[in-house]
Point group: C2
Chain length 388, copies 2
């Protein structure tokens, strides 16, 4: 599949990056994107929603929120009568251990080869759990539609990302939902602390995250929250997002035209500001990540500190030459321009990215516009920023 | 030993609390405190210093600092010529697992029964490691002096504690060092974010923490830092404390009188403001901790959130009736006055206190004065605040 040639994908929390590409093949990509799988299901209404917590076992906020939802099932059900809402603790074993995962990141276990148990792959705790979850909420592959219409996957980050909604490019329903939620939570994406990140993997079958087993996936990230800790403010933010997301679905089920009118009013240009992974401009660099090296004796301990000038400054724009890291001798390592002259840092010093198996480093993104009606990123921005 | 009657000690990070007591027995305690063990060694100079990181495996800052110290051994050695400085990674197994501990909190494993391997106690990873560390840096018990004069134990906390220096009551050397460091770092304890907490267990043999195996123990806590994450600013703060601590020892070894003159100038009243664990006023409550209940299915997941009005407000004074917690139904739980009408909260929402085996809850302290010359807390404050 041409679209993926040269892509170095990270087995990490966020796989919102589709491809490594040189400036030469950008045009080709933007002309013929692969048809998103979810379009096959376009006409079915959204009814069954599963709210998932603890995909990463030490992200406690989601676990708290699904416990609270379960306790108030009757009230929730009467609030959103067109929906069937369920909850799931995704990785109970890792949660009880207060670890991100036991053997491997559950949020990367939903690819075809892993789910269908291709020979030669070891059966880890997370691989087995992924198969169970796929049976419960999917199936992702095969002739049957997934039993779940939307998975809302609740995460936290140790970084100062505020509220982030992560949705797949091309999934008009989820992009409209993100537009609705961000407006309700923060009065629009350009104000406040609610931002939208977009996965560029259009084909749902190609995405390895938990949300990909349902027809639609909607991931919520709230930060800063330490791993293994609950913060009241982060719980409240997450609950607010869940509420407005369900409210959107309810309104959409009742009267789609009303919702469209509302969105047109809120976003008169028909576009949303979003962030997407910055493609690497240098060979050997990863898409969406500026790596730091790991300690030779401990693959999960970094050899660099994130420079203090960047700490807590997620969505801050950096330029070639700006300080990025500090090593054990106090030397400062500057930005080489590996992902473009000017990029936005995201997930700045995320605890989950300390695992070398998850791809260490700083998240790096570009700012784009996405069409609310077609759910597609406006590619002409890309040409401008990367091609001289 | 009368002093310990009724005390419910917490197997946790901080054991700076000596006793559960009713107002009636405070006087007795303050009249006849047990003689601190370290006084036996009073005349020996301080030469061998061991800087310890990773006593809690997921507190990465200390691990970074000891790596950096080791890389610059020659420079450090010439800076502090009267000292022999070594470093130790205390719990490597937990560190490689990015966990606080594997089986039990290493910082509670240095009691006599555990170190001397009393029958009936299981040999956990941490119990075995404690015995090794005791051989390396102690011995704590027996006829020989410990081989180490001071252990500097580097910790971090997920809470907004700033820089905290934890020293034992009665250890004049460490209290003078804390006075020196806090003045150098923050211009005195009442300004800035450097505060001093005092263990009230006078007898070193009775303290179970790692620092207790050397003649003197000096614990550094810096926060907020998430577990399993390094922050450049926290590393710099910790390094500053290490530097000024070593500078104090160097100056003290060279000319004690000069240091005393300096401290008299900085603290003309001869006293330091410190915090110590608030004793429980209600039967069944723990000394120094207002507990939250744990989830029936997961002993390390709380049933209460810390109320948002307290989050990040360490050293904030609360009164009876103030909001403390929120439960899954949104009910607010107020402060019952369990530790006095007015108390200071410390370690507010500490990740290490989520483990029910460590004693869950909010830290609670009282503000006191301590004499720099005798290292003893001025007890008359205690009578005033607790007895009506």
């Amino acid at each position: 599949m041409k679209y993926k040639v040269g892509c170095v994908l990270l087995p990490s929390l966020l796989s919102f990056c589709a491809s490594f590409s040189s400036p030469n093949n950008i045009n080709k990509n933007s002309i013929k994107p692969p048809t998103p799988t979810f379009l096959n299901h376009k006409k079915r209404p959204i009814q069954k929603v599963v709210v998932v917590g603890g995909t990463h076992g030490n992200e406690y906020t989601g676990v708290w929120c699904i416990k609270a939802l379960s306790r108030h099932a009757a009230k929730i059900s009467s609030q959103y009568p067109s929906l069937t809402i369920e909850t799931l603790l995704a990785n109970p074993e890792a949660h009880y251990e207060n670890k991100r995962f036991i053997h491997s990141d559950l949020n990367r276990e939903f690819s075809q080869d892993k789910l269908l148990g291709e020979e030669g792959l070891p059966l880890t705790v997370e691989r087995l759990r992924a198969q169970e979850v796929n049976e419960l909420l999917g199936p992702k592959f095969g002739e049957n539609h997934p039993s779940t219409d939307v998975i809302v996957d609740l995460h936290t980050t140790t970084t100062n990302m505020g509220i982030c909604l992560i949705v797949p490019e091309g999934d008009v329903e989820m992009i409209k939902a993100a537009a609705y939620v961000s407006h309700k939570v923060c009065g629009g994406v350009n104000e406040g602390e609610c931002r939208i990140l977009v996965h560029s993997i259009l084909d749902r079958n190609e995405r390895p995250n938990l949300g990909s087993i349902a027809r639609h996936g909607f991931t919520v990230e709230v930060g800063p929250v330490p791993q293994g800790v609950l913060r009241h403010d982060a719980v409240e933010k997450t609950e607010k997002v869940i509420h407005y997301f369900l409210e959107y679905l309810e309104k959409q089920n009742k009267n789609e035209q009303n919702i469209n009118t509302l969105l047109e009013e809120w976003y008169p240009e028909g576009q949303l500001t979003i962030f997407k992974a910055a493609k690497a401009c240098e060979e050997g660099q990863l898409c969406g990540r500026i790596r730091w090296p790991s300690d030779p004796e401990n693959p999960n301990f970094p050899q660099f500190l994130v420079h203090k000038s960047l700490q807590d400054r997620d969505f801050h724009k950096i330029q070639k030459g700006d300080a990025l890291f500090v090593d054990l001798d106090g030397n400062v390592i500057n930005y080489s321009g590996s992902h473009g002259e000017e990029v936005y840092l995201i997930f700045v010093n995320e605890g989950g990215y300390y695992y070398s198996s998850s791809g260490t480093g700083l998240g790096v993104a570009v700012k784009r516009k996405i069409g609310i009606e077609d759910g597609m990123i406006r590619r002409y921005y890309e040409k401008k920023s990367i091609t001289p």
